[in-house]
Amino acid sequence: MGAFTNSRALASARHITGPLPTSARTEPAWIRTTLIVITFAFLGVFILWPLLTVFHEGFSKGFGFYIETFKDPITIKSIELTLLTAAIAVPLNTVFGLAAAWALTRFKFKGRQLLIALIDLPLWVSPVIGGLIYILLFGRQGTLGPWLIDHDIQIVFALPGIVLATTFVTFPFVARSLIPLMEAQGHAEEEAALTLGANGWQVFFRITLPKVKWGLLYGIILCNARAMGEFGAVSVVSGHIRGKTNTMPLHIEILYNEYQFAAAFAVASLLSLLALITLFLKTYSESRTAQQLREAQELTTLSH
């Protein structure tokens, strides 16, 4: 026993006094260079190049043609539909996400873990399944199909279906960006506000919302990006009725399949541009969220 402890102590002593590597984080120069080159090469070939190609192809028939593409009523309709869908799905998921994050971080209840897992579900299942669910529920042969037909309500192959599918696919983003933040922040400030006479709504709008605003914005931006770009789930429920139920991504596919490459890439470039703006906003709000999270953690470490 004694020998054992001794050898352990020796080993750990050697570990402390022995020659240290130059630094745990510093690799030889050639490894660093290689890794950096590989990363940049990969990003260049698989992301930057295709992105530039989109814009290049979009303008391949000249600026005039590019502009013409966006005067086509079917293209305009697809852009409108995409924006309308996002305009409905994103606010819905903002409210759902806030409510879910609030419930999950403020209360400990049975089934909490299950609920957290359910929030993530849309990220795990293929978007096509997300779309199929709604066909199976609301389609002609679906569970609620006959009732809907009797009441002349159209859900699949129409705007409601597209919105439902999009909402399903984009549900996790707001909740997921809020839960870690709200967990770290705790609710002492909310309690303080309560004792100062603020009612529930005042606590929410004056304390909770300002506390999480950057995380919330981050979630909304991600949600919006996915809502505008979603292809799979929407493709299943849309029915591809040209000028009626085609969103931008679906419209791009149709143009491409009809060999209208320049037009397809022109619309694609607009979608990419939206994505780039999103990326920019995301990066900004992300840094602000990280800062808030750091502050919250500093506060808790200071206080313990």
């Binding site: 002492a188 400030e189 309690e191 303080a192 506000a193 309560l194 004792t195 100062l196 006479g197 603020a198 009612n199 005042q202 004056r206 304390i207 300002p210 506390k211 502050e295 506060l299 200071l302 206080s303």
Partner: protein, 243 residues
């Protein structure tokens, strides 16, 4: 009158945090709740504030004769000071102190000028009026706690509840603030309930001390009485261990 705590029992799942606790805080008195961690003192304070509720049907809380047992925290007008300040990080010091006035229903809300006057009177009172435009993160711990006190006083509380208010501060600041708080109490005579695990603090500050252990009040009396005549072995040991 003052604060009356009547037969309060509180259970978390199966753990009994408070067992039939009865305690009167006299009007204008500063009473310290002293006990080791886990004794239930913070739970009791939070029940008085309305941040927790006693087991249904088990006990009553009265503020100056009014039954507030089932009132939500925001209706009780009990000033609460938290151990970790809980200042609003996104508001400057002025807005922190003004908060309790701004959230009043429109009919009872003071005008902007009145709010300004009130806030600055309070900031002067805690000797920090020069910090009105700063944010909580720019203040030291001692300053934050004085702001937290000013904020709690802004609502003209019926009782003042302090939860280990100096627990997060270093020893020197703690002593200064302790003296300052005692002096402040002499001037205002606000009915005050003060939670601490530091007996020196309790005995120096309080008019009376209530010693809690395992959800029961073991002894209550003025500091001298308790030190001279501990009623049971727990009190004896608890004091002895620390002295």
């Amino acid at each position: 009158m003052g604060v009356q705590i009547r037969n309060i029992t509180k259970t978390f799942n199966k753990f009994v945090a408070l067992k039939n606790v009865t305690l009167d805080v006299q009007p204008g008195e500063l009473l310290a709740l002293l006990g080791p961690s886990g004794s239930g003192k913070t739970t009791l304070l939070r029940i008085v504030a309305g941040l927790e509720f006693a087991d249904p049907g088990h006990g009553q809380i009265l503020f100056h004769g009014e039954d507030v047992t089932y009132h939500s925290a925001y209706k009780r007008r009990a000033g609460f000071v938290f151990q970790h300040y809980a200042l609003f990080q996104h508001m400057n010091i002025f807005e922190n102190v003004a908060f309790g006035l701004r959230v009043r229903p429109r009919k009872l809300r003071p005008t902007e000028d009145e709010i300004r006057d009130r806030v600055f009177t309070l900031l002067k009172r805690v000797q920090l009026e020069q910090l009105a435009k700063r944010f909580p993160s720019q203040l030291s711990g001692g300053q934050r706690q004085r702001i937290a006190l000013a904020r709690a006083l802004a609502i003209e509380p019926r009782v003042l509840l302090l939860d280990e208010p100096f627990g997060a501060l270093d020893a020197k600041v703690r002593k200064e603030l302790r003296r300052w708080l005692r002096q402040f109490h002499e001037e205002t005579h606000l009915t005050t309930l003060f939670v601490t695990h530091d007996q020196e603090e309790a005995f120096e500050l309080a008019d009376r001390v209530a010693i809690l252990s395992e959800g029961n009040i073991q002894q209550i009396g003025c500091p001298k009485e308790i030190v001279q005549h501990p009623t049971n072995t727990f009190v004896h040991d608890f004091l002895g261990l620390d002295i």
